[in-house]
């Protein structure tokens, strides 16, 4: 049912000691979209994500998710509603195996996480699904590897698999391709495209190749405020955006990448 608004913020504002990092942002994300959030450094993208996931309390404004006001909920509550984020800096459980990392996410829906008297065996039936998810990101061969030992790109892929395990309705990705080689970038881009089936994705990304190839809609932030919002073609021609973000015309489509 595309077109329905899944997430909406109205007048969302965050101030740090007088410095306005996010300024009166009104944003609507449609169900099923891959929605990119771009903007120059320090525009407030990460802060905006932090507000959505409750890692920071907003100074003003409201966040509505599927018609429910979730402005004052706790991070974990929000996560259980189906809003899940990945971090700008890689976030895995380093001394657990790759499989256990994914299982950690699958386990949550089991409802036995407080059961300290159950054996570990009660989790084994999750392995099948975990391997499926790993296969989706090409990590099936690493299932029993300690996660610390994975190269950076693979960790990012793992993080994606873990996030998917939660069956999120809305995924928030903060620079998912940062720090990846070209090969990985295109793989992860395709991966995002793939997992976007049946869910909504809101992502921050500086790599214009990625944005242009998969984003349905783009919002541009500058100094905490929205300066443009719309499909890629439209936004990328917006002179204000070019001036503030993309830079001179020769790089227009490619970005710097």
């Amino acid at each position: 049912m595309s077109g329905e608004i899944i997430l909406e913020t109205t007048g969302l504002t965050k101030e740090f000691k007088g410095f306005v990092a996010v300024n009166n942002v009104n944003l609507q994300v449609r169900r099923g979209d891959i929605h990119a959030l771009i903007g120059p450094n320090g525009a407030g993208k990460t802060t905006y994500f932090n507000l959505l996931t409750k890692f920071l309390p907003p100074t003003r404004g409201t966040i509505t998710y599927r018609g429910v006001d979730i402005t004052h909920e706790k991070p974990a509550q929000t996560a259980r509603r189906g809003i899940v984020r990945s971090f700008q800096i890689s976030a895995v459980f380093p001394h657990m195996t790759v499989l256990e990392n994914v299982r950690a996410a699958l386990q949550r829906n089991l409802g036995t996480s407080f059961h300290f008297w159950k054996p570990e065996r009660s989790l084994y039936h999750l392995h099948e699904r975990a391997l499926e998810l790993l296969a989706a990101v090409d990590l099936q061969d690493f299932a029993d590897e300690m996660t610390v030992n994975l190269p950076y790109g693979r960790k990012r892929a793992l993080e994606l698999a873990t996030t998917m395990a939660l069956e999120p309705e809305l995924m928030l990705l903060d620079e998912p391709t940062q720090g990846m080689g070209h090969e990985d970038v295109s793989r992860v881009t395709q991966l995002i495209k793939k997992v976007s089936q049946g869910r909504t994705i809101l992502m921050v990304e500086h790599n214009m190749n990625v944005v242009s190839s998969i984003a349905d809609r783009i919002t541009v932030l500058q100094r905490g405020a929205v300066i443009a919002d719309g499909p890629y073609d439209e936004v990328s021609k917006n002179p204000q955006v070019i001036e503030a973000y993309m830079g001179s015309a020769e790089n227009e489509l490619q970005g710097a990448h």
């Binding site: 771009i38 120059p40 320090g42 990460t46 070209h182 973000y245 830079g247 790089n251 490619q254 710097a256």
Partner: protein, 234 residues
Amino acid sequence: MAAELLKIDNLHAWYGESHVLHGVSMTVAEGEVVSILGRNGAGRTTTLRAIVGLTGSRKGSIRIGGHEAVKLPPHRIARLGVGYCPEERGIFASLSAEENLLLPPPVGAGGMSLAEIYDMFPNLKERATSPGTRLSGGEQQMLAVARILRTGARLLLLDEISEGLAPVIVQKLAETIRTLKAKGYTIVLVEQNFRFAAPLADRFYVMEHGKMVREFARHELSANTGMLQEYLGV
């Protein structure tokens, strides 16, 4: 060819027990911009860290301006005129942005002034009194680069400096590097972003599994695209 400012010979380096560099050799002439390419985990970061002495243990030879540096502690290496911008940025949370900027002691003459730096990165001026790590990801990246431009180091080791920056800023950074080159700085550029590095570097090294496997000059670039495709997937 101008004098060699940096000459690495058969360099091995370890993190704890894991052997990461397996005999790296490379040279960088004074005033040159050299870029090291390679996949994730090839050992590029480790090469830079080994030069400044931040890996576990090292073996082989690193000559900087004629001085053997492989046995020196990091602070002595820096004093040879080396400026290092780490991949993880290394911004200090307990120092304000400006204090971060002023932190590295001068190691040579002719560093940029604070005004020049603020001119180049106006964001930093605006956030000067914020604690360093409260800056946005990109602002921190700028800070990390700006920080070593002040010290007067003549040999700059830059690790993934275009990472996470908006395209406009990346362009600005490219200009900065050109300016620095014009001023005679010597630069080693580790970049994932080939399009950023390509127009800037005089020479390229390609790294794989802790070794330099290819070396070519800019004018050989087009001849090497096939090879790069193979090594990097560009």
